[in-house]
């Protein structure tokens, strides 16, 4: 009888009516929260009791020598690698360890890989169009039309990444730096909450680096951005907060100057370069 009255209760919200993916909850501050994460490959601990917190809208740089676990950390956040232990939360509602890659991507975590891959035969505009967050099943894609709102959104991103003049040219003719920007633009089209950017300025010229720095600092605030980078000059030019990884865990955290003057950091990583810069 109780069961029947519960069925008749008009205020009741059935489980299946609650959307499976509710928006990211960042009321409590951090958008990304890693606690005691450990991964080992064949006994080698690539990540060792790593703790990391990224605030909403923050631009964070992660540096560290080769093998410090930077890429593995990205893999864990995007669901590519499963940790052996630890917690990974996106906002305070989403347990990323319980999700697979596409689910995490659709939740709003975009990742840019080291090597730019754009669709060379398609125009810059079309590259962005394909990357846009939309219904990606067959029939909606077949019948999709470019609405004014979509066009505006693409124009906006084209302006942001500075490729508006090249919009109708094939992406194959772009320079290396321009391809990197296009990739970032493709990520932006997916309206991510958190952007993971892997070595964005590798192989760039001085000028291209400056523009990339402008681009990434411009994004912070609207999106949270995590940048993994080797180039110290570049990190110094964009970072407010720097995290130094070493042997799979956090060695130091703070502003670039704090980190650079930390004796532990100088010893393992910055040593040679810091001396160069001073001298």
């Amino acid at each position: 009888m109780n069961f029947l009255t519960s069925l008749a209760d008009r205020d009741r919200v059935f489980d299946f009516l609650v959307p499976a993916q509710s928006p990211v909850d960042v009321r409590h501050g951090p958008i990304l929260y890693l606690e005691d994460v450990t991964v080992s490959f064949d006994g080698f601990k690539a990540i060792n009791a790593l703790n990391l917190t990224i605030d909403d809208g923050e631009l964070r740089c992660i540096i560290g020598p080769n093998g410090a676990g930077k890429t593995t950390m990205m893999d864990i956040i995007t669901g590519k690698t499963r940790p052996d232990a630890g917690k990974v939360w996106f906002g305070s509602r989403h347990d990323l360890l319980a999700m697979n890659e596409p689910e995490i991507a659709s939740l709003g975590i975009g990742r840019k890989f080291q090597k730019p891959t754009v669709f060379e035969a398609l125009s810059v505009f079309e590259n962005l169009e394909l990357a846009m967050a939309a219904d990606k099943r067959i029939l909606p894609t077949l019948t999709a039309r470019l609405s004014g709102a979509v066009r505006d959104r693409i124009d906006e991103v084209l302006e942001t990444i500075g490729l508006a003049e090249l919009r109708s040219r094939p992406a194959g003719i772009l320079s290396h730096g321009q391809k990197q920007w296009l990739e970032i633009g493709m990520l932006l089209m997916q309206c991510p909450r958190l952007l993971l950017v892997d070595e964005p300025v590798a192989g760039m010229t001085e000028q291209e680096m400056e523009r990339t720095a402008e681009l990434l600092t411009g994004l912070a605030g609207k999106q949270s951005v995590v940048v993994v980078e080797h180039d110290m000059g570049f990190v110094r030019s964009i970072a407010r907060q720097v995290t130094v990884l070493h042997q799979g865990s956090v060695l130091a955290e703070g502003s670039m100057d704090q980190v650079a003057s930390d004796p532990k950091v100088i010893e393992v990583y910055l040593g040679a370069e810091a001396e160069e810069e001073v001298g």
Partner: protein, 380 residues
């Protein structure tokens, strides 16, 4: 409406215009010019051209999956032949009791094999509507099952090409068997009429030629509509960087399956139009060499243009007719030489030759627009 989008493209309108003009010209020269006049187009030629047009439709189907999706199918002859067999079964049932053995229901070869009733899969083929449905469904179903298994397992590139060869070869061996009930190595032939019109009359041949032309036009527009849609751009993206496309959230294997099935159905229609015009369908259409030849037409004409596939199919088959008439033994050498020459000197096929001038003009115009006034750009 995505289906009408091609009608606002200049290249499509030019293609349709040229095709329509050619159909009308052949019709006029066949009907209005008296027999014996040098400009008269004989019924034999009309029939031959109809055959070429069905090959052209087949080439368009192959270009859709190869040129735009990057799936090199070396087994499209199988879908063509299945469509042909569906049509052949309908034509066999239309013979009725006029066969050699005069059996009211059974085709001659079944009487010859001492069968006493129609196998279940021959039922319904006396109805044109059902046969037409099967022309689409038989190749479509095969493509669906084959594609589902292949694309789900992410079989691509040369491995997929080899499997498609194996598919068509296996079907050829199966259809050679008398017990399959499709006439063994003789196939289906001795057709009398289609939809009540005698297949031996010139008027029916002209009608079939025109029907094939219309089918080619419709098939072209359908492919063009797919290619010009966002899905078409997803296809090109899949062709060039499959993993990246998947990472953007597209279900690549479903896109591949969808386009593969559409292409197989088009190939089936081409086969169904081919069979009444040549008067026979036998397992040789399943032969792997035929499927490779189709790919050669597309390569010669120019990949990823659709109209290039049409040009390639027409040119190569015309050359084949001429060559096999003059020097039958030299044809395969000529085909090989043609392929080598085109690959070396015209990497983008005959269509590339046509497109070159247009592209250069466009590029120049665009450069002029891009350089002086920054920010002002043409959205094509």
């Amino acid at each position: 409406m995505w289906l009408t989008r091609p009608f606002s493209e200049r290249s499509t309108l030019i293609f349709l215009g040229v095709l329509l003009a050619a159909l009308l010209l052949v019709t006029a020269l066949h009907l209005a010019v008296p027999r014996g006049h040098p400009l008269h187009v004989t019924a034999y030629t009309v029939n031959l051209l109809g055959k070429y047009l069905s090959y052209a439709l087949l080439a368009v189907a192959v270009d859709l999956v190869w040129g735009y999706l990057g799936i090199l199918s070396l087994g499209h002859g199988a879908f063509f032949a299945l469509g042909g067999y569906a049509m052949g079964m309908y034509l066999m049932r239309q013979i009725g009791d006029r066969g050699v053995y005069g059996h009211p229901e059974l085709p001659d070869f079944m009487v010859f094999l001492n069968w006493d009733s129609l196998p279940w899969y021959w039922l319904g083929f006396d109805m044109a509507g059902f046969a037409l449905l099967m022309v689409l469904l038989a190749p479509g179903a095969l493509a669906l099952v084959f594609g589902f298994l292949a694309f789900r397992s992410r079989v691509t590139g040369v491995y997929l090409s080899i499997i498609t060869q194996a598919l068509t070869f296996a079907l050829m061996l199966a259809f050679f068997r008398n017990e399959m009930g499709f006439g063994g190595n003789n196939g289906l032939t001795d057709f009398r009429d289609i939809l009540g019109f005698s297949l031996r009359s010139d008027a029916t041949r002209l009608g079939l030629f025109l029907a094939t032309g219309v089918a080619l036009a419709l098939g072209y527009v359908l492919c063009r509509a797919i290619v010009a849609s966002k899905l078409g751009r997803v296809c090109v993206a899949t062709r060039d960087a499959e993993a990246r496309t998947r990472f953007l959230g597209y279900r690549v294997e479903r896109v591949q399956l969808f386009v593969f099935v559409v292409s197989a159905m088009l190939a089936g229609v081409a086969g169904a139009l081919y069979v009444p015009q040549v008067g026979i369908i036998n397992p040789s259409e399943f032969s792997p060499i035929f499927s490779i030849e189709i790919v050669l037409w597309v390569a010669l004409g120019g990949r990823a243009t659709l109209y290039g596939a049409v040009i390639g199919a027409l040119l190569v088959n015309y050359a084949k007719t001429v060559f096999t008439g003059v020097m039958p033994d030299a044809w395969l050498f000529a085909l090989g030489a043609l392929f080598v020459l085109v690959t070396v000197f015209l990497p983008r096929g005959v269509a590339g030759l046509l497109g070159y001038r247009v592209k250069r003009l466009k590029r120049r115009r665009q450069d002029e627009e891009d350089t002086p006034t920054a920010g002002r750009e043409a959205t094509a």
